[in-house]
């Protein structure tokens, strides 16, 4: 049967079992929207800004193991989507973004709402396509989903000129994808895995360093099995939180710029590092030269060979899908456990570092400490909420004070550091998990970057809980200015903030303001229990001067930490 390009797009999405997509209509995608109207298999969520459509699709993918889908129009629709695409790219999130394009004959003529979408997005996608013939459409859509979710996942853009959506051809959805240029490795090299197991078995000061790749590949169970079998200490990266349980005694907490003393010290002084889907980025190892001074062996499991030996030299590289490689490792380790005596001295050192209790803070009677709010949030949600954070101090506090027992419950922009992702991430997560408790941990700066989505949340009755840690400063900027620019708070103070309670109410939601420490818990209870089914915006007026500690200043060695007590 002949179908139009627009029908084909929708049919392809149905074939891919897409249930929810986020979008914003416009001239170039009108045919597609018309087809969307005629069916009820795919639910379309109308956002208020294309950036949020892509963030929401991204949040949907992060919180589930499905591919997120966004639909935007040409020109400004596509350029607005770019921040969302780059955000997903930096964190390897599988999404497919369909963008409208001006009709083929108009391309290159500076037509109304024309932009070179493929050119603009090229450096921040895993791959992109411009469909020039309706007969290529189904094949391209299939490839787009395949590329997005296989190998190291990432965003794929499919740019479709308007005339292509009107042209017709026979529709047949390909069942398989054949690409001679794209065949990601799955199984790790057995010889390398054996070498890794030998190193691990003889390690005296081992550490398992788990990143976002373990979350994305759903390797959490195997990471736990391996860590428990070996009895080694584990540290999660910001992106890896929850891959290994945050409440497991073997967990040393997050490492890196705002990592714990025990995690950073153990990482630095380890004799064997097992890196699992983590990439030694500059927020983890700020100074590769300093890091290299300590002799050690590094084993690195990653599906992307280019992540291996990029910043830190790796001794045993293992290219492969994390769960497949871990499965092999577990097989080889069967029946042989490293003697705990071998690592006893190491654990003793770790306990000494731990005893510093570097995350301690004092909550007085006067000012609300932001850390305290996160702790109470943890208690009230029993640690089971999906927490979506924005970017800044609140992000680090959420990462430090809300231990995640399970993966895919912590959504944040780790790579690109995009302020404004929190609310749209939460929308995406709530659509993926309609019954879950979804909280946004944000600040008065970040939340205003996608505040318009409060309207989307109302339209679709999303009972999100927005925890805004309002310190009337762009806190992380202010912290750096305090520490490295002699407290010259250039551009980090925001005057004329809105009344967030009224703002929430104006959008049809419930708003509370909390100014005293004793009100933190009762108001959180009210929000999560009494107003379970409402979106509640809580404006916590927090201590303006609170800083995130420990801190490794940019470019410093991991052991060079500034602690709260140092100041």
């Amino acid at each position: 049967m002949k179908m139009t390009g627009a029908e084909i797009v929708i049919r392809c999405l149905q074939e891919e079992k897409v249930e929810v997509m986020f979008g914003y209509p416009g001239g170039s995608v009108l045919h597609i929207y018309d087809e969307l109207f005629k069916q009820d298999q795919i639910k379309h969520i109308l956002v208020r800004h294309e950036q949020a459509a892509v963030h929401a699709a991204d949040g949907y993918a992060r919180s589930s193991d499905k591919v997120g889908v966004a639909l935007v129009t040409s020109g400004p629709g596509a350029t607005n989507a770019v921040t969302g695409i780059a955000t997903a790219y930096m964190d390897s999130i599988p999404i497919v973004v369909i963008s409208g394009q001006v009709p083929t004959p108009a391309i290159g003529l500076d037509a109304f709402q024309e932009v070179d979408t493929v050119g603009i997005t090229r450096p921040c996608v895993k791959h992109n396509f411009l469909v020039k013939d309706v007969r290529d459409l189904a094949d391209t859509m299939k490839k787009a989903f395949h590329i997005a979710k296989t190998g190291r996942p990432g965003p794929v853009v499919v740019d479709i000129p308007k005339d292509i959506t009107a042209h017709t051809c026979e529709f047949e959805y390909p069942q398989t994808v054949q690409m001679r240029s794209y065949n990601p490795v799955v199984k790790g090299h057995l010889g390398q895995i054996k070498k890794a197991v030998q190193l691990l078995s003889s390690a005296k000061r081992p550490i398992i360093y788990v990143g976002g790749g373990a979350v994305l590949s759903d390797a959490s169970d195997k990471v736990r099995k391996l860590a428990h079998h070996l009895g080694f200490p584990v540290t999660n990266t910001l992106m890896g939180l929850g891959a290994f349980s945050g409440i497991d005694p073997q967990n040393l907490g997050m490492l890196g710029m705002h990592g714990t003393v025990e995690a950073n010290m153990a990482m630095h002084y380890a004799d064997v590092i097992l890196a699992i889907g983590a990439r030694f980025d500059d927020r983890v190892v700020g100074n590769p030269e300093n890091f290299a001074e300590e002799p050690r062996k590094v084993i690195h499991i990653d599906i992307d060979p280019s992540s291996i030996s990029k910043r830190v030299k790796v001794d045993v590289p293992i290219v492969g899908n994390v769960p497949d490689v871990l499965e092999e490792m577990l097989k080889l380790l069967e029946g042989s456990k490293p003697d705990p005596a071998q690592t006893a001295a190491w654990w003793k050192r770790i306990e000494e570092w731990r005893s510093k209790q570097c995350l301690n803070f004092k909550q007085g009677d006067d000012l609300i400490m932001p850390q305290y709010v996160v702790q109470k949030l943890y208690e009230i949600t029993k640690g089971e909420a999906i927490v979506c954070s924005d970017v800044g101090q609140h992000q680090m506090w959420a990462a430090q004070y809300y231990p995640f027992a399970e993966p895919r419950r912590w959504l944040n922009s780790g790579g690109l550091g995009t302020m404004g992702v929190g609310l749209p991430y939460a929308m995406g997560a709530q659509f993926a998990h309609p019954d879950a408790t979804v909280a946004v941990v944000t600040g008065e700066g970040s939340i205003q970057m996608c505040i318009q989505e409060l309207s989307t949340a109302k339209q679709f009755r999303l009972p999100l809980k927005i925890i805004s840690l309002n310190n009337r400063y762009l806190g992380m900027v202010r912290q750096w200015q305090e520490m490295f620019y002699e407290s010259r708070y250039s551009g980090s103070y925001m005057d004329s903030l809105p009344d967030f309670v009224k703002l929430a109410e104006a959008y049809g939601h419930v708003g509370f303001r909390v100014e005293k420490p004793e009100d933190v818990e009762p108001v959180l209870r009210k929000a999560f229990i009494d107003h379970k089914d409402d979106l509640v915006f809580i404006d916590f007026q927090t201590n303006r001067e609170a800083n995130v500690f420990p801190m490794v200043a940019a470019g410093k060695g991991l052991t060079d930490m500034i602690l709260a007590e140092d100041l």
Partner: protein
């Protein structure tokens, strides 16, 4: 270190920009870049001359392999290979220079492929350094125009880059 990288890439619109964009975005050098379809019209062969440390080269090959359109990548300079570049050079050829220019072209095994009463166009093929030598061997004041293709390279003997 100078390296010659050969790439087989799907012959599709934008393939070149994916490769050149990768080099500029990640700060890698490109000294020369040549590209044309192979005997299989669905594939293009690209030769890139670049410089960088071993670590940088490792990243370059890995990043190139990561591009979805790239089928194969080889660092030709890792083993025996041949490199050739073509130059067309237009020179002033009048008076005593006319005979001298003919002689130089002969010495370098170049061919004169266009003649007017005052100019020659010399076609010269060889390694990049041979072309450089020709330029420095003649009186630079006589050079009117130079166009070079950049390096094409191929492995010697059994080293074959094919799908």
């Amino acid at each position: 270190m100078r390296h010659i990288i050969s790439i087989l890439i799907e012959n599709e619109a934008g393939a070149l920009s994916r490769v050149s964009g990768l080099f500029s975005a990640r700060g890698y050098n490109i000294e020369t870049l040549t590209v044309a379809p192979t005997e299989d019209a669905s594939l293009s062969r690209m030769t890139i001359v670049t410089t960088g440390s071993e670590e940088v080269l490792e990243q370059i090959t890995k990043q190139l392999n990561k591009l979805v359109d790239v089928v194969k990548v080889v660092d030709l300079s890792e083993a025996a290979h041949i490199e050739r570049e073509l130059m067309l050079i237009k020179v002033r050829a009048t008076g005593k220079d006319r005979e001298e220019m003919k002689r130089m072209a002969d010495i370098f095994r170049g061919r004169i492929i266009d003649v007017t009463d005052s100019t020659y166009v010399v076609e010269l093929t060889g390694s990049s350094s041979k072309l450089d030598s020709f330029i420095s061997a003649i009186d630079t004041g006589l050079i009117l125009e130079t166009v070079r293709t950049g390096v094409s390279g191929i492995g010697r003997g059994d080293r074959i880059l094919k799908v």
